[in-house]
Symmetry: C2
């Protein structure tokens, strides 16, 4: 469904030739495959095979393919290439793509590569490298075309034609005043629609901009919300330092979405495509979380240990443990998922904590009442009305607590400046499990008079 | 962090005036707030307050704001406006945005609104409406500018200036042959860089395109992967029917991400911003899943019921139930999260099931060996070496089974044409819980000789 039959056939053929080691035949097959398809195929190969396919590409196609690959796949490839090949590719990259790759390379390799750059490229790269990790400054392009308020449309078009080869985008031009402050923006569409002798000041629009040190995801979402082709990046004094383009914004958001999705499931983000990730890397991305969660879960062992007497007396209570803590965990997950997503989209802010708490407590209580009534009826009917009451009341309490905790956890994370997704769903479940058990046994003791 | 201080102050002021009911003052405050900020503020209000703020906007700003709102918020607003107001807004929308709204409106309202449209707008809208839900045809714009292979650059630019007001984008122009087949594309950048008398055929590039009936998300990802401003949408005969633009692609992806994220947490997608969603809607988005999961969890009650004899004999076994099934659930979640994401990004395809199964089984076994060894040592030391052996072996088995099931579930979903995220993490946990308990008690009986 996701791939045309032709593409699939080509991929199978390439895989076959790779295992047979028939590089000559492979080379000639690859020549006919469009660069975009090669990218998709490479990202589905293991690390060693990736390098083999990449080295068979024509020089000019190789750069196109390289640019489109994930930065971590790029860095894997770089290690398998000769110094001269690497230097050539590195010089051919846009400054922002270059920085993306540098972030993934071993610290020893980066200075060597930077040193090999031409004067101009090194200067542009160091502008971008000067901004902190995760800031939009590090993802912007320093190559753009500007105009001025007193220029005419014709002047601007001439200027634009002059610099067209260097600029990453020409569809949005920042308008500057004498001190390089941003006075407005003009889109290429406005330029084309205007009379050639019109003055820029008369056709420009107000500039929305982002600060270079701002969080890259926040800036990217601002751009996509508004549907801009690009957004100017400025310093503290509103002087232009670069442009964030829509394609880089989409790339930033995709990375963030992958990270959030991974953390929501209690995994460290892979950052490489699935099949390009070695098995041991998959294990590593999961084992730390699993261990943390297992250690957290020993809390439940201790809680049960405390109540072992109660359990031994009324064994039937043990039967409901997985159901009750499972429901608590699910309710907590639901709330955490909803709020984490709303935070990512900017619908909810860290300061909304009281408002969220109020909503989630009410939602949790309502869910608890619904499930609790059902639980009371079923358990009461099958076992006894006393057991039914224990189960019903426990469900009300657990759902309320779980939704409240699950809902505010992501906001607490934001307050203490941690990625909200780090308090992932499994993390919340584990926490809710222990408190759920305590609630359960306290209610059971009270009702059953133990 | 996510919002400037100024914006926050404005929002607080608007909230204050809303509760005070001072509409006159509110109206004058709102005039000075940029449209993009109004959008953000409206999306954080309850449904009634949204309508109040919206009606205070100037006519021309109202349309800008309306266009940028979520379709469900739009449909909430529409119900609160007078027929005349609605008709005016509806006429002012782009055809694709109009269809997005129509999808959310009650079936009785849609024909009335369509009927009120001008001839031209109705025709354009019905082109888009003709394609199936979730297809890219329904998200494309039917308003674009085309050129032909034998036109010159100057011809094309003149044509483009002529139609600039109607086209949704002018940054990418499809090049057509006599039968409206797509022969290539030319970017506005290429046009500007070329000599005015150059022939389009000499500067156009190969057209990547998507079929109108193709899945909208797939098409949107194709566009963003390649970083295109727009991608032509064609029919089965490769005749041009529309363009998918980058901003619509980003919107599609954001919707899909929200849906995946929600399902991963066992919630139905909200589709409205968090604060704009009534409490009862939040309850409804969660209760069905919770009930399904709770019913699933009664399986664990039954399994425990079967093994109640074993439990009564060795009560200490009950202590580890939450820890063991929790770990199984977490391992399953991790695998499901990773594979669901890889599927969404296209890194993994439905046909890769054997490859994924092999990888996940190995990852699960390795995780199981690590955790199992630890479990054996700790439980063995604290309780007894026999109990340690039960816990250790159970962990190895549970982790292997859970990772394998969790990893292939999303692929099975794709095979049976269900959203892979529907087999959400809580769903997998619940399933893994029951099988985990069976494994646990079978191993316990074997080792403890019960």
């Amino acid at each position: 469904m996701n791939q045309s039959v032709g593409q699939r056939e080509v991929e199978n053929r390439i895989l076959k030739l790779l295992t047979e080691g028939d590089l000559k035949q492979l080379g000639s097959v690859i020549q006919d495959v469009p660069a975009d398809d090669i990218v998709l195929i490479i990202e589905r190969l293991g690390a060693k095979q990736q390098a083999v396919v990449f080295r068979l590409l024509h020089k000019d196609e190789a750069l196109d393919v390289f640019e489109a690959l994930d930065p971590l796949v790029q860095s894997d490839l770089v290690r398998g290439l000769r110094d001269g090949e690497v230097a050539e590719i590195f010089e051919g990259l846009d400054p922002d793509d270059r920085v993306w790759l540098l972030d993934e390379l071993p610290a020893t390799l980066a200075p060597k590569l930077l040193h090999g750059l031409s004067e101009r490229e090194r200067r542009l790269t160091s502008v971008v490298l000067g901004y902190p990790q995760d800031s939009v400054g590090r993802r912007m392009t320093p190559e753009y075309v500007t105009t001025r308020m007193d220029y005419t449309v014709a002047d601007t078009m001439a200027r634009l034609r002059d610099r067209i080869d260097d600029a990453e985008t020409i569809y949005m031009l920042p308008v500057l005043d004498d001190a390089r402050h941003i006075a407005g923006v003009v889109s290429l569409r406005d330029l084309i629609a205007a009379e050639p002798d019109a003055i820029i000041a008369s056709i420009m629009s107000e500039a929305q901009s982002v600060e270079a040190t701002e969080d890259a995801e926040h800036a990217a979402r601002k751009l996509t919300e508004a549907g801009f082709v690009a957004i100017p990046v400025v310093d503290r004094e509103r002087r232009l330092v670069g442009l964030l383009t829509f394609d880089d914004a989409m790339r930033i958001i995709e990375h963030e979405e992958s990270e959030d999705s991974a953390r929501q499931g209690g995994v460290e983000p892979l950052r490489r495509p699935y099949f390009a990730t070695p098995i041991m890397q998959l294990v590593r991305s999961r084992v730390v979380w699993l261990l943390v969660l297992a250690v957290g879960a020993t809390l439940t062992v201790q809680v049960l240990d405390v109540f072992e007497g109660t359990l031994a007396e009324v064994t039937v209570l043990a039967l409901f443990v997985p159901l009750l803590i499972g429901t608590g965990g699910n309710t907590g997950n639901q709330a955490a998922t909803t709020v984490t997503r709303a935070l990512a989209l900017g619908d909810v802010k860290a300061r909304d904590i009281a408002r969220v708490l109020g909503r989630e407590a009410r939602v949790g209580a309502m869910l608890g009442l619904l499930l609790g009534t059902l639980g009371f009826l079923i358990a009461g009917f099958v076992y006894s009305w006393q057991i039914g009451a224990v189960i019903g009341l426990t469900l009300v309490a657990i759902c309320t607590v779980a939704a409240t905790i699950g809902g505010i956890m992501p906001l607490v994370a934001r307050w203490v400046k941690v990625d909200p997704a780090v308090f992932s769903n499994p993390f919340i479940s584990t926490f809710v499990d222990a408190s759920g058990l305590i609630i359960y046994f306290l209610i059971a003791r009270a009702i059953l008079g133990l």
